[in-house]
Symmetry: C3
Subunit: 136 residues, 3 copies
Amino acid sequence: MSDRTPTGDHDQLRELLQRYARAADDRDVAALAALFHPEAEVTGSRGTQTLEEWLVGMRAPRAFPTSMHVIGDPLVVFGPDPDEAHLDTYAVVYQLSEPSSGGADLTLGIRYLDDVVRLDGRWVVRHRTASTLWMR
Amino acid sequence: MSDRTPTGDHDQLRELLQRYARAADDRDVAALAALFHPEAEVTGSRGTQTLEEWLVGMRAPRAFPTSMHVIGDPLVVFGPDPDEAHLDTYAVVYQLSEPSSGGADLTLGIRYLDDVVRLDGRWVVRHRTASTLWMR
Amino acid sequence: MSDRTPTGDHDQLRELLQRYARAADDRDVAALAALFHPEAEVTGSRGTQTLEEWLVGMRAPRAFPTSMHVIGDPLVVFGPDPDEAHLDTYAVVYQLSEPSSGGADLTLGIRYLDDVVRLDGRWVVRHRTASTLWMR
């Protein structure tokens, strides 16, 4: 393993975002919750919610049965504390209707602004602001 | 070169995926083959094929003359061997018809699940499963 | 900060591209200019322009009030000098019309080929070639 480099913070932060995408697309609410600080807040179209309030919405039946969160590279700024960082990330989210339903699909351009912290050696989201830039 | 950091495994794995995209879009079958283990298998819409069988399909004339494989960040899990990893990667593939043909373009949402191994110091795909999540 | 890994060249180069996306989408011409070498050239649909000529175009009123540059992972080749690299990057650029205007949106598939250099410890673009692969 001599040429195995340790996983750096940037790679860990990219992994956090990719784990979010898979958990959201798998409707795995427990996996989603594990990516957030217990006292996290999420600001979006429903205003600012606690993590628990936000997860209630994620557990509810969805208008689209299938989704694909294609998440781009985050722009990362570390600090002020070494265990804190700010991520600015573009994502394109494909919301797919049941092929047999005749419903139209929806595509959204989203910008995630995340304050993340290292908690017990693992990066988690402390505050997320999700803004929908466009939808089709 | 004192501030030149060595290329880590994550960067090498991202490079493997980007080289795949360029080789696929360039229709460069030799370059594609070099990204796979000689005994690789590819599982997709045609079932599970050996690398040679799969390359036959890649050499065949294509319905769309131009493509663009936009490949996202892989979710990487290393192990169990230090020279093994598993990649879970989202991609959006744009298949473009000849502008003068009047044909419609096709866009596909694809999930690649890759078992990769380090062979002679270079990561290659040992087994790929490609699933089409949606197409438009 | 013992487990804080230094930012490697790959991460710095990805940051350069993400800063480009944010500056382009924010119409922040000063921020854009800071990402280029003072003697940079940009080759695109208008031929090859000096940085100053290209920035004139970026300052002009635009047909689409909002944009989102979703920039993929660069394929990076370092050298020949340790302070030089070549980036081959796919991007999907969403150009959005005013919702009330009734105008159609435009989506472009773009390939950026960048020669970048390290100038005063910071990577900047020395020459960019932007090719539009498709538009819808």
